[in-house]
């Protein structure tokens, strides 16, 4: 056998090689201190990593998290759709509502979002340029939703628009995730607009104080995930499928 490769030595160290090959490597290692040292190095990294991170798996799970998971699991029988306490961050009703049924989920989320948007509107100029939930998005945003590929971003009035992804709902409706960072207010609105009869409707939006660097905090991401789950959205489309899906959009102005 020629000098074993690093990948072979690593697989040997991990016990992943078939017995005959493992026996050969063991023989080579006995005769070659360099090979032995390389094997030990792979083992040492694994041991250090496992040892250092071991205590994390022994930590007690925070009660709020455990409770939230149990509540989601039991959601089908729960009558009271109260908000899961997960202080100090806001837990939108979507956490509890996702299993209650599509209609109920939508109502709860839209109710919550209307409140968010009302606040956003008072707080900053940028939010005004998006739309009210359930209505058309502005002509400017509609134009960008119809034409810009995901991953791109552009300036709009008083704000910055970032296209995140395009998905298809279970009925085939194309929907786009996007973020609007309002200049100066530190607010980020994350939304999903869906294309129906050639027009973009804002289905859900979450306004949040932007984290450092202008990105929405993870909890607003979770709200959108709950919504995507509710509409049966598939995986994000690749560039070609996205272009195809967006070809159904007519110019908004």
């Amino acid at each position: 056998m020629e000098k074993p490769t690093d990948t072979e030595l690593m697989a040997y160290a991990d016990g992943e090689l078939p017995a005959p090959l493992a026996a050969k490597i063991a023989e080579i290692a006995r005769a070659d201190p360099d090979v032995q040292r390389r094997i030990e190095r792979f083992r040492a990294v694994r041991a250090q990593l496992a040892q250092t991170l071991q205590p994390l798996a022994e930590e007690e799970v925070p009660e709020a998290l455990r409770r939230a998971v149990l509540d989601m699991a039991d959601g089908q029988t729960a009558a009271d759709p109260r908000v899961v306490a997960f202080a100090p961050r806001v837990r939108p009703p979507a956490w509890r509502a996702w299993q209650v049924g599509l209609a109920a989920s939508l109502l709860l989320m839209l109710g919550g979002v209307a409140g968010f948007l009302a606040g956003a509107r008072q707080a900053g100029e940028g939010a005004r340029s998006v739309a009210a939930v359930g209505s058309h998005v502005s002509a400017e945003i509609a134009r960008h939703l119809s034409s810009l590929p995901s991953g791109s971003d552009t300036g709009i009035a008083d704000a910055h628009l970032r296209l995140i992804a395009t998905v298809l709902a279970s009925d085939g409706t194309p929907c786009r995730e996007f973020e609007v960072d309002s200049t100066g207010t530190g607010r980020t609105s994350t939304g999903i607009a869906c294309l129906r009869d050639g027009s973009w409707f804002l289905d859900i939006a979450v306004a949040a104080q932007a984290a450092e660097g202008g990105f929405a905090p993870a909890s607003s991401f979770a709200t959108l995930e709950a919504y995507l789950l509710a509409i049966g959205a598939g995986e994000p489309l690749d560039a070609a499928a996205e272009a195809q899906a967006l070809s159904a959009a007519t110019p908004a102005d």
Binding site: M10, A73, D74, Q99, P217
Partner: protein, 169 residues
């Protein structure tokens, strides 16, 4: 919405709650932040509950849920949501030793290991943690990440060599 038989649902719920400690560790090693980790675990549990009908008994339930969490993390990266406040552990637990690549880690602390993981590309970080910490086989990791086993091995070898360099091993 399809109703799952209660008798079937209880074990799944218990399996899920039972795997929370490991899911939290996995999420923390991917994100480097306790807050993001717990959010990610909650998202993954929500998705696992919604998709529990897709779980096949022949797959280890842990591997199945880990894959869901891993996919949720990839979605988050795509979404840009992970680029907010990030290394809260590195900031608070032993900030003095977390100079990232520049520092040779004489003593491996949790924060320095998380910082080293954070310096790896996401695709190397995930295979490193799945194999070395969570003890999944190469084949399981290939199936979870949707890449050939040879790719898992080359990523893992690169990740370990880089980590060894950082850790002075």
């Amino acid at each position: 919405m399809p109703m799952t038989d209660q008798a079937e649902q209880q074990p799944f719920r218990d399996l899920l709650v039972g795997s929370l400690p490991k899911l939290r560790r996995f999420a923390l090693s991917l994100t480097g932040s306790r807050q993001r980790a717990d959010d990610l675990v909650q998202t993954a549990c929500m998705k696992a509950l919604a998709a529990q009908g897709d779980w096949r008994q022949e797959t280890r339930v842990e591997a199945w849920i880990f894959r869901i969490l891993r996919n949720a993390w990839i979605d988050e990266i795509r979404h840009g949501a992970v680029r907010g406040p990030h290394a809260d552990l590195a900031d608070h637990e032993d900030a003095a030793t977390t100079d990232g690549e520049a520092a040779v880690m004489s003593k491996l602390t949790l924060a320095s290991v998380l910082a080293a993981l954070d310096s790896l590309p996401p695709e190397q970080r995930e295979v490193m943690v799945l194999v070395c910490v969570e003890e999944f086989s190469y084949a399981e990791v290939a199936s979870m990440t949707g890449v050939p086993i040879g790719t898992v091995m080359s990523r893992l070898a690169r990740a370990r060599q880089k980590f060894a360099g950082l850790a002075g091993i």
